[in-house]
Symmetry: C2
Subunit: 230 residues, 2 copies
DNA sequence: TTTTAATTACTGACTGGTTAGTAATTAAAT
DNA sequence: ATTTAATTACTAACCAGTCAGTAATTAAAA
């Protein structure tokens, strides 16, 4: 299919003929391997991704992979976990910043998610988790509890406070978080699936700001949703 | 798995006990096979689904599969196409019904999508298409043009009319359709991935109605979004 | 109707290509 | 010289796709 491939990226040897460098970088390898693995798992799925391919993208041979990971499955788990910590940390940081400003917290959460997760390489993880949930139920459960449910709780708290303080009108709290975040997940998924096949999709910033504007208008009912419009 | 097998040649059939019917149903087979295939592709992905598994779920042997489909890929395409026609037809029908009632059309579209697509077996197709887009770019392009872009255009037209008639406030039309539909796609994807792993998720009806309520409040700005609240 | 022939739907053991994982080997670093 | 990072060559298992053969059904002959 893909086809051009060529060599395996000889890391730009100085000049002479094709001498492969064969560098040794024990400490940097795991990161490089999980990054390559994540990109390919997101693009093609777990089963359709060949270990040779992952190794080639990371600039090593397949055997090297097994110096750092016990199995393909272990590599998958490591690649996912790589994206879990940043997501959690980013979420926690927000509570400190917008602790008692519901409108700012909702806006900040959505913008921060897109900036730090959705628009980065981690933006492919939701698509990957949804696709592989049945094949890796434990990983999916872990991801759900460690990342999704935490984010959901954070958003729900923000909205609950907004309702309590009269800024937001009453809405069903049990469904509000997925309603707020799903357009962003959808955009991230889109960019990691269909978008590469057709030229020029929607503008992410416009999409994001329109979403924020729409839901804040919806939440605030009659009153205007105060705060800087970016 | 099955494993009774026994010897190599099952010529001895008279035993009387466990001989399966081996019914002949030439006309019903393709449907049964695509339905089984779709369910398994949605659950595990294309590459991770074994043809033996699909055949077993449809109650036939793997050889039979090849009487009706040329290859695993052909079966995949057939399974997707199976879900394309209903989606298109459902969309077209709506324009006739709510041709000049923007609020009703938006509400009707979202409810109809969930009822006729999202909550059915076809509800797994978006997840499947996103996951396999890079592996089957032609199928993904076809699905995008035949289904997604049509639905997007339909929704955009509805909102544009609403703005023109003063019912909706002005919003960015280029992003409004995915913003309206993505929470539903997300719910359908959720139910076909993580939900089966954890007991009791959100209530689909509550989720759907809250979404409709929220976006219509957002679109209508100050004024109330008239119409029956279900 | 009963028997026999022809056809059709289906089966499951087999094969050949593919690939995750391993063992033997080489090269760099200390 | 010894240790360790990395490569290469290999193996065992798996699975899409095939095909020789079997059971069910239909048609024709007796």
């Amino acid at each position: 299919m893909a086809g051009k491939a060529g060599k395996t990226l000889p890391t730009a040897a100085k000049a002479g003929a094709e001498v492969r460098p064969r560098r040794r970088r024990k400490d940097a390898r795991p990161q490089e391997l999980t990054a390559a693995a994540l990109a390919l798992f997101v693009e093609k799925g777990f089963a359709a991704t060949r270990l040779d391919e992952i190794a080639a993208r990371a600039g090593v041979s397949k055997g090297t992979l097994y110096l750092y990971f016990d199995s393909k499955e272990a590599l998958f788990k490591a690649a996912i976990e790589e994206g879990v910590l940043p997501a959690i940390e980013a979420g926690e940081a927000l509570l400190d910043e917008y602790g008692d400003d519901p409108v700012g917290l909702v806006r900040g959460f959505l913008r921060a998610w897109w900036e730090q997760i959705g628009s980065t390489a981690y933006g492919g993880i939701p698509k990957l988790m949804f696709a592989e949930a049945a094949n890796f139920p434990e990983v999916a459960r872990y991801y759900n509890e460690a990342v999704i449910q935490r984010g959901v709780a954070l958003l729900r708290t923000a909205v609950a406070r907004g309702i309590a303080s009269g800024v937001f009108r009453p809405v069903e709290l049990s469904v509000i978080s997925p309603l707020l975040i799903s357009p962003l997940i959808h955009l991230a998924t889109w960019r990691n699936s269909i978008a590469p096949l057709c030229g020029a999709g929607v503008d992410p910033d416009c999409y994001l700001e329109t979403h924020i504007d729409l839901v804040l208008h919806g939440l605030c009912a009659g009153k205007k949703p105060d705060g800087e419009p970016r």
